[in-house]
């Protein structure tokens, strides 16, 4: 909790022109943002490009930064918007497939039956996440991997807490059904 509170103080120092504080924030949040975007987009290269855009926007708006919410809420709000825009734009492109799935399968060639089953289930769940509506997907990823509270997710998605609970309920219900279908 102390580290999260420090994020705000660091960002206020960035507002005053302290580049070293920006570097600390980048070090702290680089991986979580990239990983979140990767799981949203399921393409590593695009995820890194979008993550760069996230931090670029944080830096560009440093002069007008106001600590009205947690820094991570703001950060993931930017990341979610960029991801949802990317997903929306990609829908219009034909034949755009992520190479990551093929690469992961090749890199993790199963050698025993358990590995096969595990990979198949992961592939199924990843596919199910890929097919979730944008906000449900974002809510699940923030809830599961960033361990964000409902209020934080609501801030990032710009909706109410009850809406977040509804999003999560429907998303997880879909994922559970997908796995049950495989059983």
């Amino acid at each position: 909790m102390a580290a999260l509170e420090q994020d705000t103080h660091l960002m206020l120092r960035v507002r005053e022109g302290d580049s070293a504080s920006f570097a600390i924030l980048l070090e702290r949040h680089r991986a979580p943002v990239v990983h979140f975007l990767y799981r949203m987009i399921q393409n590593q290269a695009i995820a890194e490009e979008l993550a760069q855009e996230v931090f670029l926007r944080v830096y560009r708006s440093r002069a007008s930064y106001e600590p009205t919410a947690k820094f991570t809420t703001w950060l993931f709000r930017i990341a979610t918007r960029l991801a949802l825009n990317q997903i929306r734009d990609r829908r219009h492109e034909k034949g755009s497939e992520s190479l990551d799935d093929a690469r992961q399968l090749r890199d993790h060639l199963p050698t025993v039956e358990q590995s096969l089953v595990r990979e198949a289930r992961l592939r199924e769940v990843r596919q199910a996440i890929e097919e979730l509506p944008g906000k449900q997907k974002a809510a699940v990823l923030m809830h599961k991997y960033q361990e964000m509270e409902y209020a934080q997710i609501a801030g990032a998605l710009d909706c109410s807490e009850s809406a977040v609970k509804s999003l999560l309920f429907r998303a997880y219900e879909t994922l559970r059904a997908r796995l049950a279908h495989m059983a």
Binding site: A23, L26, R30, A31, V34, H35, Y38, R39, Q44, E48, A51, Q52, F55, L56, Y59, R60, R118, R121, L122, V125, R126, K144, Y145, E147, Y150, K165, L168, F169, Y172, L175, R176, L179, A180
Partner: protein, 152 residues
């Protein structure tokens, strides 16, 4: 009849799975699960989903991520400086040109009019003007070059 937890507060099961409930609430839900196969099924399925998601490990971030980001930030700074300085440098160039025109084009001395003098004055003025213009243009070009190198 549907279980009241699933009907009214399904997120309670989610919070139970992620151990976010208070100890008392966790105990209460735990007791409920022993009596409600529907909720138990949901909890077990949710644990299964999370176990699978735990295996979804993303790649490491590229080692040159920061380098690329700071390069983009520098590009932004340069563009912003050019955008800010360009109108200022043009304004400064114009002001300097105006000043130069005033300095190199002093007011001609008033002489009593005499026959033939007007023609001489006019030709003198006509001779001077192109030189003044050329010098002013050279000054502006020099200032533009100076401003361009400063912006970088």
């Amino acid at each position: 009849m549907r279980c009241p937890i699933q009907a009214d507060k399904p997120e309670v099961l989610l919070d139970y799975c992620s151990r976010k409930l208070s100890p008392e609430a966790e105990l209460s839900v735990g007791s409920h699960l022993t009596l409600c196969p529907e909720c138990m099924s949901v909890v077990q399925a949710q644990w299964e989903v999370w176990e699978v998601l735990n295996g979804w490990e993303p790649d490491e971030v590229s080692s040159d991520f920061d380098e690329r980001l700071f390069a983009r930030i520098d590009d932004q700074r340069r563009w912003w400086r050019f955008r800010t300085w360009k109108p200022l440098s043009i304004a400064a160039a114009c002001a300097t040109a105006l000043l130069a025109a005033l300095l190199f084009n002093p007011e001609p001395a008033r002489e009593p009019a005499a026959s033939g003098t007007a023609v001489t004055d006019s030709s003198r003025i006509e001779t001077l003007e192109p030189e003044q213009l050329e010098r002013t243009l050279e000054d502006m070009e020099m200032l533009r070059q100076l401003s361009g190198s400063r912006a970088l």
